[in-house]
């Protein structure tokens, strides 16, 4: 297959997945529809991390912090007995996540390599403690979002998030929007610089790029998009807990990115489906599903560089190779 056919096949595949997702509620029960919605939200989360890991070369092990901060922003901004206004609470949540990412970025981006990994983890842990320990976060048990945000603007209500189906399609819309947004950004001069930084940061500097500022912008943007996911998660489940910020959450989303194949937005979406799919499958089989999950992760690292999205190409290679030998 030549590159153009390949990208055409990939495009068709993406459209097929989108069609499947759009049609899903017609066939799936309410529970599975909600589950798919959850996976789609996690896919947004994974894409936001992919911007850092896959495109800029920044391996963050603390990305759950921004997801959680946005989720908490929803919970804290929602009054006890009334819904909050969507058009206030959504920007607020995203802004909170972006600001946190900006200030943490100022610190963590001073480091590189292993340091960066450890320091992002440590700062996320710090954010975890802020919500777990201080009165601000409402304590270790978590807090309710008693009412889903109200989408009314100037007396007109375009959609109602309390309707599961409408909420589902809002999530689908958000996924498509984030996907399109990131695709555009990655083609833009800014996105090209990020990919250049991943390839050879030192060279980018000697070409005159202030790479720190680009990385900070990418870190903030990724935090904001993780915030979009965190916002949707809080709206979807109506409950936030410090566990949203835990480093296991960060590890899981990183796993989604890798499982799907990093540096590939579609891969991040695929990875989210695969990760949750495996989790559900394994936990149906055995209560020791974490053992299987761990095994899959280890095997994926050792035997599957490039992740799931690289599989078709690799299988093709094997098939072609065998034909060549025969």
């Amino acid at each position: 297959m030549n590159p153009t056919t390949q990208s055409r096949v990939a495009m068709i595949f993406k459209l097929a997945v989108l069609a499947g997702v759009i049609a899903f509620p017609v066939f799936g029960s309410a529970f599975y529809t909600e589950m798919v919605a959850k996976v789609l939200v996690l896919a947004i989360f994974a894409m936001s991390l992919d911007l850092l890991v896959g495109f800029t070369g920044l391996v963050s092990l603390g990305h759950a912090a921004y997801f959680g901060i946005a989720a908490y922003a929803v919970a804290l901004a929602t009054p006890k007995y009334d819904p909050a206004n969507l058009w206030v609470v959504f920007p607020l949540a995203v802004l909170a996540a972006a600001l946190a990412a900006f200030f943490i970025g100022l610190f963590v981006l001073r480091t590189k390599g292993i340091y960066f990994i450890m320091v992002t983890l440590a700062f996320a842990q710090m954010a975890y403690y802020i919500f777990h320990d201080t009165p601000l976060g409402g304590g270790s048990d978590g807090i309710y979002v008693n009412f889903k945000p109200d989408a009314t603007i100037a007396g007109w209500t375009p959609f109602d998030l309390n309707e599961p189906l409408q909420l589902y399609y809002i999530v689908v819309l958000a996924l498509v929007a984030v996907f399109a947004f990131l695709s555009l950004v990655l083609r833009s001069p800014f996105g090209r610089v990020l990919v250049g930084i991943r390839s050879n940061e030192h060279r980018m500097q000697s070409l005159g790029y202030a790479t720190f500022r680009y990385k900070l912008a990418a870190f903030t943007l990724a935090g904001a998009l993780a915030g979009v996911a965190g916002f949707l998660y809080a709206v979807l489940f109506g409950f936030v807990t410090p566990e949203y910020l835990s480093w296991h959450q960060s590890g899981n989303v990183l796993m989604m990115v890798i499982l799907g194949g990093m540096g590939n937005l579609g891969g991040a979406v695929l990875g989210a489906f695969a990760f949750i799919g495996l989790q559900e499958l394994f936990s149906d089989w055995t209560k020791h599903w974490q053992l299987l999950m761990g095994g899959v992760i280890v095997a994926a690292v050792l035997f599957m560089p490039g992740g799931l999205s690289a599989l078709p190409r690799r299988i093709l290679k094997v098939v072609n190779g065998e034909r060549g030998n025969g």
Binding site: V59, Y115, I117, F123, Q125, M126, H288, G294, I297
Partner: protein
């Protein structure tokens, strides 16, 4: 805080810091020398503690268990290196993060299957079970002092190993230039296997020593891991002295944070780390 209490708190800080050093030293060694980021380090600590529990219930003697446990942990480390980590040297950090993250899940689950989820205690050996009175109400357990002494001895031992032995020389050379060492005719694979096994043994030893005072329970590795990361970041990757200094710094920050600013106790350690990052992004003792 009266003066006696202040002095006792200093003692607490020192003792906690030294124990942290013991846990973090293996991590910084593996980081610095092999360039491997190992999230499963906390699991090795946990494995050590459970090993102490299992062996002590068989032999009835903690000291004997530790003597048996160290070679076991060392062999386990060597086996892991051969099976998994040896394939990671040429891979990037991301893959190391993931592989070791997978290992955490595996180890924790295997622990649950083989040892159950209960809390277990390990007895302090009779000869160290006494306490020394410090004030009219408070006394200090001898075993804690023993741990501090062991940690200090290990710090010295590590320094001696790195600076004064042929193995240490090879390790130091290997950390700077893998190819150069290889060209000198040193078996780099064996060298790395040794270093990794040493790192595992150090973590397991920390777990074994801490088992009597911390008890043995599920998830005990997780909290140790993150604090070890903070220490390595502050101290500078690969620096044994840096780790010692950073561990003591964290010991003091944590102890006095708990006493002086109890509402922020959970954050103090991270604030210290942030401050050090502003001052020296590559740790206090960065390695050339």
């Amino acid at each position: 805080m009266d003066f006696t209490t202040f002095l006792i708190q200093i003692l607490n800080a020192l003792q906690y810091g030294l124990l942290l050093f013991l846990v973090a030293s293996g991590l910084t060694l593996v980081f610095g020398i092999m360039g491997i980021i190992n999230l499963a380090h906390g699991s090795f600590y946990m494995i050590g503690a459970y090993l102490a529990f299992a062996l002590t219930s068989m032999t009835g003697n903690l000291m004997l268990s530790i003597a048996l446990g160290i070679p076991l942990a060392f062999a386990f480390g060597a086996l892991l290196e051969w099976l998994l980590f040896a394939h990671l040297y040429k891979r990037d950090h991301l893959e190391q993060v993931l592989l070791t993250y997978g290992l955490i899940l595996i180890f924790e689950e295997l622990r649950s299957i083989t040892m159950g989820d209960d809390v277990h205690g390990v007895d302090i050996p009779a000869m160290f079970s006494a306490s020394i009175p410090l004030s009219d109400t408070l006394s200090y357990p001898v075993y804690r002092i023993l741990i501090s002494v062991v940690c200090l001895a290990l710090a010295g031992g590590l320094w001696w190993l790195m600076q004064r032995t042929r193995l240490g020389m090879m390790i130091r050379a290997g950390s700077h230039d893998r190819d150069m060492v290889q060209s000198l005719g040193i078996d780099i694979n064996l060298l790395y296997r040794t270093v990794f096994a040493l790192g595992v043994a150090l973590a397991a030893l920390a777990g074994m020593l801490a088992a009597p005072i911390s008890s043995v329970y599920p998830g005990m590795g997780g909290s140790v891991l993150i604090i070890s990361f903070v220490i390595v970041v502050i101290g500078g990757i690969g620096s044994v002295w840096g780790a010692l200094l950073a561990a003591l710094l964290i010991g003091f920050a944590d102890t006095f944070g708990k006493v002086l600013v109890p509402d922020l106790a959970g954050l103090v350690v991270y604030l210290v780390m942030a401050a050090v990052l502003l001052w020296r992004p590559e740790g206090i003792f960065r390695k050339g």
